[in-house]
Subunit: 272 residues, 2 copies
């Protein structure tokens, strides 16, 4: 059965998720109001239908998927609910399970919690969309045989996403903070020599991490705070990801930087 799905909002990840739905003949709707030119290009390029206002889009669609920075997840849910929406509401943002619970309270029992792991889904096998909640199997069926590997799970998909990113983005922030620390104390060269001896590959990882995260760091700050919350709610120490949040915050200026960012420049920013 063809579904009419409202996608809020088609960023790089969202565009690929929407495109997987389009490839399965579903109708993907978006709202151009207040969105950037890049978003418009992505939406048009992937054959999403513009309904111009949230009100019109919500009225027209059966379901909503939101993929947005975690800091606005609750606000988006409130704005959709306000329009009288009653369909399946999929929150695929990187949020704490307790934040997901709040959104469930707002949107009701047809809430599906989602967690995306992997890069934007333009290749088979690259990206998994984990889904939990009583309608999760139904959502999985929309993605059948598409480039998005959608999987239903019994417990919180958000908890899985948080636990996963806790390591990948947490250890990246740790490595970058250590590069900055070594610079500050003037022992960078000695540390790099010691890493070569006893931690082979770590120097190279610190360099590729710097280049790979710099332009995205601005949006990791909020995600790290959601992870910190996830730890705190579980009576585990939140410090790893509070610190990670601070490191990414200091790197926020690299947003949308088009040149390759080298580790030395990341270190400078972290120390400034």
């Amino acid at each position: 059965m063809i579904q009419k799905v409202l996608l809020l909002h088609p960023g790089e990840m969202g565009a690929s998720i929407g495109s997987a739905l389009v490839s399965n003949k579903h109708e993907v709707v978006w709202v151009s109001q207040n969105r950037s030119k890049d978003t418009k290009n992505r939406a048009t390029g992937n054959k999403f239908v513009d309904k111009l206002s949230l009100k019109k889009a919500v009225t027209y669609c059966d379901h909503v998927i939101t993929i947005c920075p975690p800091t606005v997840a609750i606000e988006v849910a409130l704005s959709v609910k306000e329009m009288g929406f009653k369909g399946i509401y999929i929150d695929a943002n990187a949020i704490a399970p307790s934040t997901a619970s709040k959104i469930q309270e707002i949107v009701g029992p047809r809430f599906v919690d989602g967690g995306i792991i992997g890069p934007p889904a333009w290749e088979k096998g690259s990206t998994r969309l984990y889904l939990s909640g009583k309608c999760s199997e139904e959502v999985v069926s929309w993605f059948k045989d598409s480039l998005v590997d959608a999987r239903s799970m019994k417990n919180s998909a958000s908890a899985l996403k948080m636990s996963y990113a806790a390591y990948t983005k947490g250890s990246s922030a740790l490595i970058l903070s250590i590069r900055a620390l070594a610079k500050k104390y003037g022992i960078e060269e000695s540390l790099m020599e010691e890493w070569e001896i006893s931690q082979p590959g770590l120097k190279e990882r610190s360099e590729s991490t710097a280049s790979g995260t710099a332009s995205k760091a601005w949006r990791f700050e909020g995600e790290m705070l959601e992870i910190a919350k996830t730890f705190l709610d579980a009576e585990l120490p939140e410090g790893f990801h509070r610190a990670s949040s601070e490191i990414y915050k200091r790197m926020a200026d690299f947003k949308d930087s088009e040149e390759k960012v080298i580790v030395e420049n990341v270190i400078k920013k972290i120390l400034n």
Copy 2:
């Protein structure tokens, strides 16, 4: 020239460092007062000479090396200074550079800051002793051709040790905390499956980290706090290692556990 070196105190690491000095014909002295039977066995087995009291040992020796838990580093320095000691004082503990500076103020200009990287030095090439301070070259010469790879460096050896352990012990604590988090939210199986797909080897690392750190965790708590201080002094976030300290504290009960500790038991302790 043969040196008379007081070693405070011969733990597993210290015994191997002392043994390297003995292999170079230096005389290594220790003090049995208030030490355990294990320490006595190590000292006797490695041909260290017992001078029974700190006063006698300090009076007899030219130099002092301390290798002890970071929380007692300052106390040890004060007690040695009180005996009128004027020789080279090597602090090889895992302490923040600012703690090392305090010890330098206590013991004076013949202070040598040391940082040990690697396991107890029973094999050639396994372990490096980094040394900084104006007498560091002299100390390096005592270890010539021994199993300890002693290296002099211009800037703080403690900063190098802190930066190094910041990653090894910090990332280990992070991984174990994430295993505990996943357990708490009931998504352990999903996380392990996802790690198998996109983070190959991480599950195995979490298991070997649990077994490898459990019995030593009790003494990592203080080291993590010194690392946190090192970050804070550099105006970098201290949260990674405050959190690591908490994780190792929760694991302290595994001290001296003789059976292999499995990851499931570590998770339980962390969650308790």
